[in-house]
Symmetry: C2
Subunit: 76 residues, 2 copies
């Protein structure tokens, strides 16, 4: 579902920037284990957190969501 699709998008964007989970977590101001949970689709982040992640990954939320919805369509 949507959290799984978003999980893959975060992970791919993070890796494309050669950031570790640790570095992303630090940038966003969340715990590394939370990044790990997000990347496994185990948590549904709040809009506030999504916004901070988008800043850290240097993309708009709209673009992250476009990729997420594409991923969701692929998954189903």
């Amino acid at each position: 579902m949507i959290d799984k699709a978003f999980a893959q998008v975060i992970r791919e964007l993070r890796l494309s920037l050669a950031l570790s989970q640790e570095a992303l977590a630090h940038e966003v101001g969340i715990h590394r284990t939370y990044v790990s949970q997000l990347e496994r689709g185990l948590k549904s982040p709040s809009l506030k957190t999504i916004f901070k992640i988008s800043k850290a990954l240097n993309v708009s939320i709209a673009e992250m969501m476009r990729l997420t919805e594409m991923q969701l369509a692929e998954d189903s």
Copy 2:
């Protein structure tokens, strides 16, 4: 901030469909008071909830976020 911008977007989309807060709440499966809180920017919805709201409002999440980021730019 981002929740305030999203608040305005939900409200405008809901009104453009001539839906009451009650009707939107029912459609999404959340309480009317939660819709009211979202529309005042008092809560930061989870991605799961944003997804359900986008379905109910018949737009993509990407489009909602494009509008939200435009609103945010206007606000600041």
